[in-house]
């Protein structure tokens, strides 16, 4: 299953590996240790989430998705996608596989952009667990206020670009 994205990733890996190797300061070894840690951390989660998603795709009626989140529904999918993205209380494995599931069931590009962008900016679990302690409520309030329209703008732009 060779695709442009796979080739791009392979090329990028080689280029960055070459740059790191030329440094000769142990960068490659440090990257290798980090790579092993990340794979051990996330790959098992990914496998489990893919299994759950595969079943979800069978259970969720695709008509329901295409009716409410499909291109034919105009700008409504962007609103739904943006609001849903703000409410996903989980990490990237869940958010992105949910998006992949919705994409497979016929959700529009704009809705997916709004969903992912909203999750990236407003991931509720990240705000509650990390940002309230790292940033403090005042900065968090400012950040959330000014970023509120972003998922919907991004979704609308994506809708017209696609």
């Amino acid at each position: 299953m060779i695709s442009p994205s796979l080739l791009f990733l392979v090329a990028l890996l080689f280029v960055m590996g070459y740059i790191a190797g030329r440094r000769g300061d142990g960068s490659i070894q440090r990257a290798w240790v980090r790579f092993k840690k990340q794979v051990a951390e996330f790959l098992p989660r990914m496998v489990l989430v893919i299994i759950g998603t595969g079943f979800l795709l069978q259970i969720i009626p695709s008509e329901l998705i295409s009716e409410n989140l499909g291109r034919g529904a105009g700008l409504k999918p962007i609103l739904i996608g943006g609001l849903a993205g703000m409410l996903v209380p989980a990490g990237p494995a869940v958010a992105f596989t949910t998006a992949a599931t919705l994409a497979g069931a016929g959700a529009s590009e704009g809705a997916l952009v709004a969903f992912i962008t909203a999750w990236c900016i407003f991931a509720i679990h990240r705000i509650l667990i990390y940002e309230t302690s790292l940033a403090g409520p005042k900065f968090l309030l400012i950040r959330c206020t000014v970023a509120l329209p972003i998922p919907f703008i991004a979704g609308t732009v994506a809708h017209y670009l696609s």
């Binding site: 299953m1 695709s3 994205s5 796979l6 990733l9 392979v10 960055m16 590996g17 740059i19 790191a20 960068s27 440090r30 990257a31 980090r34 840690k37 990340q38 794979v39 951390e41 996330f42 989660r45 489990l48 989430v49 893919i50 299994i51 759950g52 595969g54 079943f55 795709l57 069978q58 259970i59 990490g91 990237p92 494995a93 992105f96 596989t97 994409a103 590009e109 997916l112 952009v113 992912i116 990236c120 900016i121 991931a123 990240r126 667990i129 990390y130 790292l134 940033a135 005042k138 900065f139 400012i142 950040r143 000014v146 970023a147 972003i150 991004a154 979704g155 732009v157 994506a158 670009l161």
Partner: protein, 212 residues
């Protein structure tokens, strides 16, 4: 040459709470007392994902019978064959990015810029900062402490959250494809600057010198 890792250690005094992140990039500074609970949390998470799979499988069998169940298995095999090689490659790229970046130099670059270019550099630095909230908020704190203000601070942190290159490589591209990832980037690359300008306009009178 100071890497993000060193910068992170430097900033530990300013940010000491919660060394974990959902994407796992900030787990290097070990917090011995918390190791056990992190281990426990990881196991609970895995059990929850497994339960999601089992419940989904059971409900799928109940709704669609053996045929629907077997179709779901086919979809899962196809998804795994498509995604896992990409995700593995992306983890390799993210690990290399993490060791290659020189955040200190980029921060100095931002300070040297004026006007729109400062926004552009803040967006780029936000996008390429690997790691979770601990790394990025440490850098943000340095920006605010050096007088860069809300405009640059908000631009940087919004770019980090929505345009993070590591996130695009690890999650967007493998799971949603290069077209959808490019579309999200194209639709949103200018929005962190907008958020920064909006913050400057709405809250600029409040001098931001630290996060709290």
């Amino acid at each position: 040459m100071k890497s993000l890792r060193l910068l992170h250690i430097e900033c530990e005094n300013t940010v000491t709470k919660q060394q974990q992140t959902d994407e796992g990039f900030d787990k290097d500074p070990p917090v011995t007392g918390k190791k056990k609970s992190r281990f426990k949390k990881r196991h609970i998470e895995m059990i929850a994902y497994a339960a999601f799979g089992v419940a989904g499988g059971g409900y799928c069998y109940y709704l669609k019978g053996a045929e629907g169940f077997s179709m779901a298995i086919d979809v899962q095999v196809e998804m795994m064959a498509g995604m896992l090689p990409r995700i593995t490659l992306a983890f390799g790229i993210a690990a290399l990015l993490w060791v290659l970046l020189d955040a200190e130099k980029l921060k100095e670059l931002i300070q040297k810029q004026r006007g729109v270019m400062q926004l552009v550099y803040a967006t780029i630095l936000g996008a390429i900062t690997p790691g979770g909230p601990t790394s990025s908020f440490s850098i943000l704190n340095l920006f605010l402490a050096s007088g860069l203000g809300y405009v640059i601070g908000i631009t940087y942190i919004t770019a980090w959250s929505m345009l993070g290159v590591q996130r695009i490589l690890i999650w967007d591209m493998p799971l949603l494809g290069i077209d959808q990832a490019s579309l999200r980037f194209l639709a949103g690359f200018w929005l962190p600057s907008l958020a920064g300008l909006l913050a400057g306009w709405l809250f600029g009178k409040q001098q931001a010198t630290s996060l709290k």
